[in-house]
């Protein structure tokens, strides 16, 4: 609709502004912008401010301490341990979830009777809340009374402490979260696999390529965007692991499963050191930003975009 010259005698600058396309556009998105601004952006900025202050959440005085909170991070052995645990967790969880998801998706990418039942079954873990997941795994892996150990004993392997053991707990959480997230990667991979044109496979088959060669040279390159998406998404989630730890080990035993977000929650809401926790959150934010940037850069070189 072309801008028409106002015919009203009350025509004014204000009137023109109100009627311009820009303004009505902004007006339409403003509820969203305002909500995101208040509940998204503002807390992010306030948390940045908090990271330069000493705050116990109790008293109104929050003196500025400059970079003190960030300096403290470097000297905190528990924080260093938490970084270590987070890295180990991410390094196992992300490829694990992608691999299991790809295998399950490949197995399901065909027409079989009851396929929708299998697909639902694969995705259903995503519908289980992380807290119930944690409690189920606590029961399953209990040292004396759990189903998993009953199975191990039946085949002659002694009982394992699992979540109660400082050396095993983190790996049990890896296994548990891979189980929980597989449904997600299955859906993404299944969609990607179904986007692979059948003609390419046919043509290659006619040229004599084996099924494995076809999978390697046709399917895998075409999965690039799905890989990139899962890599970034799962990494960000892995670095922010919290629920599953809270529901199972509370960071223990002996801090063996204390990951960054759990530790920062513990500092802020158990030990009332909110400024320090905010600094930790910002350190993590920068790390996630850098890792994601690296992943995108690598992907630009290697991902075959369609």
């Amino acid at each position: 609709m072309p801008a028409r010259v106002a015919t009203s005698p009350r025509s004014s600058v204000l009137g023109r502004i109100i009627r311009s396309d820009n303004v009505s556009g902004w007006a339409l998105v403003s509820p969203g912008v305002v909500l995101i601004g208040i509940f998204g952006l503002l807390p992010v900025l306030m948390s940045l401010q908090l990271s330069f202050q000493k705050s116990d959440l109790l008293t109104p005085e929050t003196p500025w301490v400059g970079l003190e909170n960030y300096r403290k991070l470097a000297d905190d052995p528990v924080f260093v341990e938490a970084i270590k645990h987070t890295i180990i967790y991410t390094a196992l969880f992300v490829p694990g979830t992608m691999l299991v998801g790809l295998l399950v998706a490949a197995a399901m990418n065909r027409s079989l009777r009851f396929m929708s039942v299998y697909r639902t079954a694969a995705y259903i873990t995503m519908a289980v809340s992380t807290i119930s997941q944690g409690i189920i795994f606590l029961w399953l892996t209990d040292r004396d009374y759990g189903l998993v150990n009953a199975g191990l004993r039946a085949v002659g392997i002694p009982s394992q402490s699992f979540l109660a053991s400082p050396s095993q707990a983190l790996f049990v959480i890896v296994a548990m979260t891979i189980w929980g997230w597989t449904g997600f990667s299955v859906i993404v991979y299944l969609a990607a696999l179904q986007g692979v044109p059948a003609e390419l496979h046919e043509a290659a088959a006619i040229d004599g390529a084996s099924a494995f060669t076809r999978f390697r040279t046709i399917t895998v390159p075409l999965l690039g965007p799905a890989n990139l998406f899962l890599l970034v998404w799962l990494t960000i989630n892995a670095l922010q692991l919290f629920d599953e730890v809270y529901a199972t080990t509370r960071g223990g035993p002996l801090r063996a499963t204390t990951v960054i977000v759990y530790y920062l929650w513990d500092r802020a809401f158990v030990h009332f050191d909110a400024g320090y926790a905010a600094a930790m959150a910002y350190a993590l934010f920068v790390v996630i930003l850098v890792i994601t940037a690296i992943q995108f850069r690598l992907a630009r070189k290697h991902v075959h975009s369609s």
């Binding site: 403003s30 509820p31 004396d144 509370r250 035993p253 002996l254 030990h271 009332f272």
Partner: protein, 426 residues
């Protein structure tokens, strides 16, 4: 054009709705409304609501409303509400938070109030009063009191041919019994301890430390002294049971205690009266805590009193809140609440009411021992702001020893170092 105007109008309406959501006025006329946040559910919840209804009926000028809020999370919620300028008027708070609560400016210091004779402040158990006191402030009024004692499965004791615990039991007797009651082939353990390194772990150790003659901090609260000979002795007992005898189930997730006890997998718990109602499938007995040989047999225990904390939301509401708390913690209401719920009476005079205690013991066997055990509470945990840090260090030390990763003296020494650093404000 019309369509565009419509859009703008729509947006304006939306914006108005959003703005209106933030509002919420308060009327100046009518009864004074006060909000009470509590963590009572089930029977406790019903009895508590009954008391509030009674109060509202008897006091038409005040309207008390109650809001359930999980006890574990109430401090976070209250902090958020205080920051947002919408603090509750009264909230149930754990006694271990008192030093932190004392720093919230909106918290009402009750010291001037409770010194009035009609409060009968001395009628509260000393441990309760101490847990509500931080320096010269009194941050709350006792809402709940409990203590730890041995709860044991009578059948498992009989089956293993072990005599039930007596008040004369030493920790050596306890250890020997636990070893006899342990049977790996049945997945049965003599004792279970929460081993998540939280305060729940720590407060099982502290009465042992006290009974052995030690203490947590020096009398001036300046530095840690739990790494004393007594501290090592107490922790060595735990080490022997967990590592040498393997008679101690380490509940690292702190989820299993009452469940395993109730299913006959654990012969003894050291726990409080709150677990008794969950032990419906077994016949249990309750006995006071063991002593250490040579400690004089004082059977010391620990109490974790919780408080009703009042917040200042203007003079009128503040006074209404204080009046309500005063009524709620008066002997008649304490008696009614204990009688209805089985919770230990928070007042000495009510605890001495034999008819009440007998009735409670009939409803929930063992309650009587817990009421009597309140007189074995000789000490309280230090009410210092750094207590969470001290508890954290001590908790890690205790669990590392029980998991066989560290020796008692070494673990306590490094925990004491961390505690001293926290106390020095580093």
């Amino acid at each position: 054009m019309i369509r565009r105007r419509l859009c703008i109008a729509l947006v304006a309406v939306l914006a108005f709705v959003v703005a209106a959501c933030g509002g919420g006025g308060s009327s100046s006329s009518g009864p004074t409304e006060i909000a009470v946040w509590h963590g009572y559910q089930d029977t406790e919840g019903e009895v508590f609501k009954g008391l509030i209804d009674q109060y509202n009926k008897e006091h038409p000028d005040v309207k008390v409303s109650e809001l359930y809020s999980s006890n574990d999370l109430v401090l976070q919620k209250v902090l958020t509400a205080v920051r947002g300028g919408s603090a509750p008027d009264v909230a149930y708070m754990f006694g271990s938070w008192s030093p932190n609560i004392a720093q919230i400016p909106q918290v009402v210091d009750m010291s001037g109030e409770v010194s009035k004779p009609d409060w009968k402040w001395d009628d509260f158990y000393p441990a309760e009063r101490q847990a509500a006191t931080v320096g010269d402030k009194i941050v709350g009024v006792p809402a709940l009191v409990d203590n730890l004692a041995i709860v044991y499965n009578k059948k498992l004791f009989a089956d293993a041919g072990v005599a039930p615990p007596t008040p004369n039991w030493t920790w050596d007797d306890f250890r020997a019994a636990a070893a006899k009651l342990t049977d790996p082939s049945k997945g049965q353990y003599g004792w279970l301890i929460p081993a998540d390194a939280s305060e729940d772990t720590v407060w099982h150790y502290i009465p042992m430390l006290w009974e052995a003659g030690g203490d947590i901090l020096s009398p001036d609260n300046e530095h840690a002294v739990f790494n004393s000979e007594a501290g090592v002795k107490a922790l060595t007992t735990l080490q022997q049971m967990a590592v040498t005898d393997k008679s101690l189930y380490l509940d690292t997730t702190n989820e299993n205690g009452p469940k395993l006890m109730n299913s006959g997998k654990v012969a003894m718990l050291v726990t409080g009266p709150w677990d008794l109602s969950q032990l419906s499938d077994i016949e249990y007995g309750v006995q006071v805590m063991p002593t250490f040989a040579g400690s004089g047999g004082t059977n010391q225990t620990i109490s974790g009193p919780d408080n009703w904390v009042t917040f200042n939301n203007g003079d009128k509401k503040k006074q209404a809140a204080i009046d309500f708390v005063k009524w709620l913690s008066a002997p008649e209401q304490v008696k009614a609440f204990s009688s209805g719920t089985g919770d230990l009476p928070t007042r000495i005079s009510v605890g001495q009411d034999q008819a009440l205690v007998d009735k409670m013991n009939e409803d929930l066997p063992g309650t009587k021992t817990f009421v009597e055990n309140l007189s074995n509470v000789k000490k309280v945990r230090p009410t210092v702001e750094q207590y969470p840090a001290i508890s954290e260090a001590l908790g890690q030390a205790i669990v590392s020893v029980m998991l066989g990763k560290d020796q008692p003296a070494d673990a306590l020494n490094s925990a004491a170092k961390a505690a001293d650093e926290a106390l020095a404000g580093k």
